[in-house]
């Protein structure tokens, strides 16, 4: 009996479409361990996609068999041999099949498009920067002439780290080192790859508030993680203050219009956790969070590949 599998997957999909992201986005512990929180968000994204597509697929193919592998095989064979399904195929089965295919194609398609577009933009930026800026020895980054304080890096096989001349003028050498360490952390840990699926899926599912929430949370968490890694280059309480000052200096120098104020308070959150570091999570917390993330992905996967529960 397939519908129970479909029902369980559907319930999981609903939970992952709203309550779970809402709770995770509001949770206070995520600031204390951005790595565990990032793992959880990746799991929510993956499990959410699997469960919604899986639920539709299982329901759509239910006339053909009792478990997804079996039903899929029977369904594929029926196109070649004309073998008839065991049960009657109703309209809702066709609708569910179609929706599953459309959703799967859309999520993957948008992700591929985003990757292609991003690669093109990066190539253009890189070509421009290679003509415009010099390698500066000592700073460990290239300097672009611009009064607005900014630092950015272009990820890729040959990553490029750029500071604006405004940034160099605004910060003292220790603060600059902290900013460079922060940007290097983004590059070293491939944070752009963690963020990319959420950028794509927010675009694919504009009606889903969870997609927005997940994107913003992941964007803020990678910043906090990069702060944590940067503190290794500027250690101690003095280092925390140095990085906090760099964040504030950059924030004050920029922001010529209100349109730039879309940070959503993440700067305040970052500066607060640098200046008044929250107590570390208990030792069991990170394994527990990662265990929960693995369970979250395993549940829909098992529901899909194992024979029907009943």
């Amino acid at each position: 009996m397939l519908p129970l599998t479909a029902l369980l997957l559907g319930l999981l999909a609903v939970a992952l479409a709203w309550p779970v992201p809402a709770v995770l986005a509001r949770a206070g512990w995520t600031r204390r361990d951005p790595v565990a929180a990032l793992v959880c968000w990746q799991a929510v994204g993956l499990a959410g996609g699997l469960s919604i597509i899986g639920a539709l697929l299982v329901h759509g193919l239910s006339p053909w068999g009792g478990s997804l592998p079996e039903a899929w095989w029977a369904w594929a064979r029926h196109w070649f041999t004309g073998a008839q399904p065991a049960g009657p195929v109703r309209g809702d089965h066709w609708v569910a099949q179609t929706l599953a295919a459309v959703l799967a194609l859309e999520l993957l398609g948008v992700l591929v498009l985003a990757l292609v577009r991003t690669a093109r933009t990066r190539a253009r930026h890189r070509a421009l920067l290679e003509l415009l800026v010099d390698d500066v020895s000592g700073v460990d980054a290239r300097v672009l002439e611009s009064p607005v304080p900014a630092a950015f890096c272009i990820p890729g096989a040959r990553p490029l780290l750029v500071l604006s001349s405004g940034m160099v003028a605004e910060l003292d050498p220790a603060e600059l080192a902290a900013v460079v360490a922060h940007e290097r952390a983004h590059l070293a840990e491939r944070h752009h790859l963690l963020l990319m699926p959420f950028v794509a899926w927010r675009e694919a599912l504009p009606v889903l508030p969870a997609a927005d929430r997940a994107h913003d949370a992941v964007r803020d968490l990678v910043e906090m993680r990069a702060d944590d890694v940067a503190l290794r280059a500027v250690p101690g309480p003095a280092g925390r203050r140095t990085l906090a000052k760099a964040i504030v200096a950059a924030a004050e120098g920029g922001a010529p219009q209100g349109a730039l104020a879309a940070g959503g308070g993440v700067l305040t959150a970052r500066v607060t956790r640098l200046l008044e570091p929250p107590a570390e999570l208990p030792r069991w917390a990170r394994p527990a969070a990662i265990g929960a993330a693995i369970t979250l992905v395993a549940a829909p996967t098992l529901l899909l590949v194992l024979p029907a529960v009943v």
Binding site: A114, R117, T118, R122, H125, A127, L128, L129, E130, L131, L132, L144, E145, S146, V148, P149, A150, A151, F152, C153, I154, P155, S164, H182, E183, H186, H191, H192, L195, M196, V199, R202, E203, H215, R219, V222, A226, R241, A244, K245, I247, V248, A250, A251, E252, G253, G254, A255, G258, A259, L260, A261, A262, G263, L267, T268, V271, T272, L275, E276
Partner: protein, 115 residues
């Protein structure tokens, strides 16, 4: 042998430093200390045109000019970096000032309150 990237920079520096458009021969002569063949100069110019940094007119011989000044390119790039497009952080991780005046005040107070 210099890399194409370095030659592209040398050619762009020439085009950016002068106001007039230059022919390939003039560019070769301006870069005489590098001892470039005319075909090399043409290769570099074609690459730069492909990347959208250089355009040529229809005079004979063709004369090449920069599409935009160095400052315009820098300003355009910064505009993109600072822009609000949703995928910006995925294209390039950035560290910028993105605080509203209110938030900037809060940040200053936070720094002042902690020793």
């Amino acid at each position: 042998m210099e890399s194409l990237g370095e030659l592209e920079r040398a050619v762009m520096d020439q085009l950016w430093s002068g106001s007039a458009a230059l022919s390939a021969t003039e560019l070769r002569d301006a870069l005489a200390d590098r001892g470039l063949a005319l075909t090399t100069v043409h290769t570099v110019l074609t690459r730069l045109e492909g990347k959208g940094f250089v355009r040529h007119d229809d005079a004979r011989p063709r004369r090449f000019a920069a599409v935009a000044s160095r400052e315009e390119h820098a300003a355009g790039l910064m505009h993109e970096v600072l822009g609000q497009a949703a995928d910006r952080q995925a294209v390039l991780a950035r560290f910028i000032g993105s605080a509203s005046p209110d938030e900037a005040a809060v940040l200053r107070a936070l720094l002042a309150d902690t020793p």
